[in-house]
């Protein structure tokens, strides 16, 4: 088997870019190169968004013993196009008492913030738009802007439900940002770098057939789960979809948004979800690397997107199964479970480094995480006297 064509396939987009850049004058080359990356991001992820909406609706349908959309285009795949056209031609209503400028800017800001995060995501070998040495920090910093966008949307609408939704959203997002950052710190400690490209690269090696993914360590697994839970909350997905909890506060902070502005919010939320899943993949799931050494011939970007789709499927799966948490439980969970656990994961990642290789460090790290998990979980449930019950019967 020749390595060359495989590698070519792996690097096909990189080569394509080089080839295209080669045609422009040298002075314009950096700009064109950047532009190409930007255009790729702007084209690819919205397309993924469109696809995901159908996937979600169909997936939920299957979980609920039905088909889901299947008539618009082949297998219902054109459904998002129809939705898009509809949204585009729908009347745009802005409440009279709304703060119009802020109301207008909020969805744009959300979409922009969501897009910016993609700059540092390595979607394949040599395939990151930029390689910032503080890439992870950049990612979180950009994510922080989304909170502001949500607040702007909720506040400017001048609607009670919107404001409630926005306040819920911010409280939730800030609370889960801490465990999100802390759980990724474990990986940064192991990798010794904040650069997403580098972190992904670190995990591309193999021991036997097993990859060096951080998720395959006790602290990595725990960190990954914490990271994904926090990510679910950050992106307002079920069971943390309180900010738009339809059964409680109508449509949350975008109650007063119509037409394409509403679609932009939707887009922004999904883009956020992809981005944060992408970061999770980069940090814990080996980025673009193959799960087994004998599968490396499949192009790296395929692996990345396969993992992304798998995580999206899990998001959809959870949405199809779980009821929503309540605000106080959500906050309790963030501060009284997620935060201590994230700190412990960090400490255990530190311990991992200082212990010698072997079974011992597996056991120590596992115990370090498992015991507090059981205790904290018990504290969460039994502290509130929550548990299964038995019932009396009268004849």
């Amino acid at each position: 088997m020749t390595q060359a064509p495989v590698q070519q396939l792996d690097q096909i987009f990189v080569m394509l870019k080089h080839w295209l850049v080669g045609y422009v004058p040298a002075a314009a080359q950096p700009v064109v190169s950047s532009l190409l990356s930007v255009v790729a991001i702007l084209a690819l992820f919205p397309a993924l968004f469109a696809f995901t909406t159908v996937l979600e609706r169909k997936g939920l349908g299957r979980m609920q013993n039905r088909y889901g959309p299947n008539r618009v285009g082949p297998f219902g795949l054109l459904q998002p196009l129809a939705d898009g056209i509809k949204s585009l031609t729908k009347e745009d209503v802005v409440p009279r008492t709304a703060d119009k400028a802020v109301h207008f800017m909020a969805p744009l800001l959300l979409v922009a913030a969501s897009f910016l995060a993609y700059a540092v995501l390595p979607v394949g070998r040599n395939m990151a738009a930029v390689n910032l040495d503080a890439g992870v920090l950049y990612f979180f910093a950009v994510g922080a802007v989304a909170e502001l966008a949500v607040f702007m949307a909720g506040w400017s609408s001048h609607n009670k439900y919107s404001l409630l939704g926005a306040m819920r959203a911010i409280a939730q997002m800030i609370s889960y940002e801490v465990p999100l950052i802390l759980s990724s710190l474990a990986v940064i400690m192991a990798a010794g770098s904040l650069s997403t490209v580098e972190i992904a690269g670190r995990q591309a090696g193999y021991s036997g057939i097993w990859p060096h993914w951080y998720v395959l360590t006790p602290w990595g697994l725990a960190g990954f789960l914490l990271f994904m839970i926090a990510a679910t909350a950050e992106t307002n997905r079920s069971p943390f979809d309180l900010p738009e909890g339809e059964s409680e506060i109508i449509a949350g902070y975008y109650t007063e948004y119509s037409g394409f502005k509403f679609a932009l919010f939707f887009l922004g939320e999904y883009l956020g979800m992809f981005a944060i899943s992408g970061l999770g993949i980069t940090l814990f799931l080996g980025g673009w690397s193959a799960p087994f050494s004998f599968l490396t011939w499949i192009p790296s970007w395929i692996w990345f997107f396969a993992k992304l789709l798998a995580l999206i499927a899990v998001f959809i799966w959870m949405r199809g199964t779980l009821p929503r948490l309540r605000m106080d439980q959500l906050m309790n969970f963030a501060w009284k479970f997620m935060l201590p656990m994230a700190l412990l994961v960090m400490v255990s990642a530190g311990v991992w480094r200082f212990l010698p290789h072997g079974v011992l460090r597996w056991i120590v790290c596992f115990v370090m995480i498992a015991v507090p998990y059981v205790l904290l979980g018990r504290g969460l449930l039994q502290g509130k006297k929550i548990g299964k019950r038995t019932y009396r019967f009268a004849e």
Partner: protein, 385 residues
């Protein structure tokens, strides 16, 4: 008796805070996704905590009683279908029972059995959908509701093949039932009765142990037995508060004394208990169904001496009640000897169960309100009539 205690405390708290202008006043409803129809709650919020909640209804007040007083005894039956539109069979039965009391009409054996079978099937589909709606209010994207409706469709198919309609069965008559059921129908009902526990297992697997569900429901909306009795709460909600009062046992109306079944009772009276009591009641209903299907005799299905058209009961009055899926469904009829009831009054369980809504919701937050309301099991057709 401390029935009014909660109310007083509430007002004291409110005046003590003295920040009325700073609280958020929200009307939830009449168009709200989880008010189960056109119900409205005027809520005052401190942050997200409820400091006052006033139920407002009447948005579906369609003058059922007035129309029935202008119509004959027979013509009122299809209207009863539309009271609690999820449970037309039990509504029919309640009304038929009241008229039978008023006019002294006997009911043949077979009709009684068919009534029990259809009523228990109704209870099954009502409880199943209620749990689905409750979970929907809790934010589960439709999956439990879909499973509930999957089973409900099977029961509705049964109803349709017996009565011709899925929801508005218009099936029972004073003195019996309208049409006889075939042996195939009984077989189909038997199939449902024997497969229903599987569905319940699935439901329990999906939900009962779920930590989120438990956290959302346990300790939420607790209702004391004392207050429940005083406020006239009936049905699963009363039993969840630990009061053993099931009209099927107390009144032994129809032929319920022939069946062995148990009445599940809760100890906390919270939303979780209400949820569990309904699940357990479904299992008991299946038991009743099995017994009734095994013992149903042949015979006439309607009292031959009763005139359906132009029934003129002697002047007098009667109050008849049954254990509807939502609680005590009563009909109070006054006859002046003419073909129309002089006074026709429905005792709607879901409306009276709302009496304590505010008591249960105070101090909880918006998300709880939605869940508590869901656990009360209201149908606006019945609340507003």
């Amino acid at each position: 008796m401390s029935a009014m205690v909660t109310r007083v405390v509430l007002e004291e708290e409110e005046s003590a805070r003295g920040v009325e202008g700073e609280l958020l006043e929200i009307s939830m409803g009449p168009h709200h996704p989880s008010t189960h129809g056109v119900f409205r709650m005027d809520v005052r919020l401190d942050g997200e905590r409820v400091t006052r909640l006033k139920p407002v209804f009447g948005y579906l007040h369609r003058n059922h009683e007035k129309i029935a007083e202008k119509a004959s005894y027979l013509a009122a039956i299809p209207y009863t279908d539309r009271l609690d539109y999820l449970c037309s069979m039990t509504n029919n039965w309640g009304y038929a029972l009241a008229v039978e009391k008023l006019a002294g009409i006997p009911v043949p054996e077979r009709a009684e059995y068919i009534r029990v079978i259809t009523a228990e099937l109704t209870r099954l589909q009502n409880h199943a959908s209620l749990i689905g709606f409750l979970l929907q209010d809790m934010g589960a994207s439709g999956t439990p509701l879909m499973y509930a409706f999957r089973e409900r469709e099977k029961i509705l198919d049964l109803f349709e093949s017996l009565t011709g309609a899925r929801m508005m069965c218009n099936y029972m008559r004073f003195g019996g039932v309208r049409v006889d059921c075939s042996s195939e129908w009984l077989e189909a009902a038997q199939n449902i009765a024997s497969s229903f526990p599987q569905f319940l297992d699935e439901y329990e697997q999906l939900l009962t142990g779920n930590e989120i569900l438990m956290a959302r429901t346990q300790g939420v909306g607790a209702l004391s037995a004392e207050l429940a009795v005083n406020a006239g709460i009936t049905g699963p909600m009363l039993r969840a508060s630990g009061v053993n009062y099931d009209l099927r046992k107390v009144d032994r109306y129809g032929i319920y004394d022939r069946f062995t079944f148990r009445v599940p009772l809760g100890d906390h009276g919270d939303v979780y208990d209400r949820y569990m009591i309904r699940l357990l009641e479904m299992r008991e209903s299946v038991k009743i169904l099995e017994q009734a299907l095994a013992a149903i005799p042949e015979g006439p299905i309607i009292d031959p001496k009763t005139r359906l058209r132009g029934l003129r009961p002697k002047a007098g009055e009667a109050y008849g009640r049954i254990e509807g899926p939502k609680g005590e469904l009563g009909f109070f009829l006054i006859s002046d000897g003419s073909t129309n009831p002089y006074r026709y009054k429905v005792r709607p369980p879901s409306m009276i169960n709302l009496t304590v809504l505010e008591d249960m919701c105070l101090g909880r937050n918006v998300a709880d309100v939605v869940v508590i309301l869901g656990s009360v099991d209201i149908v606006m057709g019945e609340v507003d009539r």
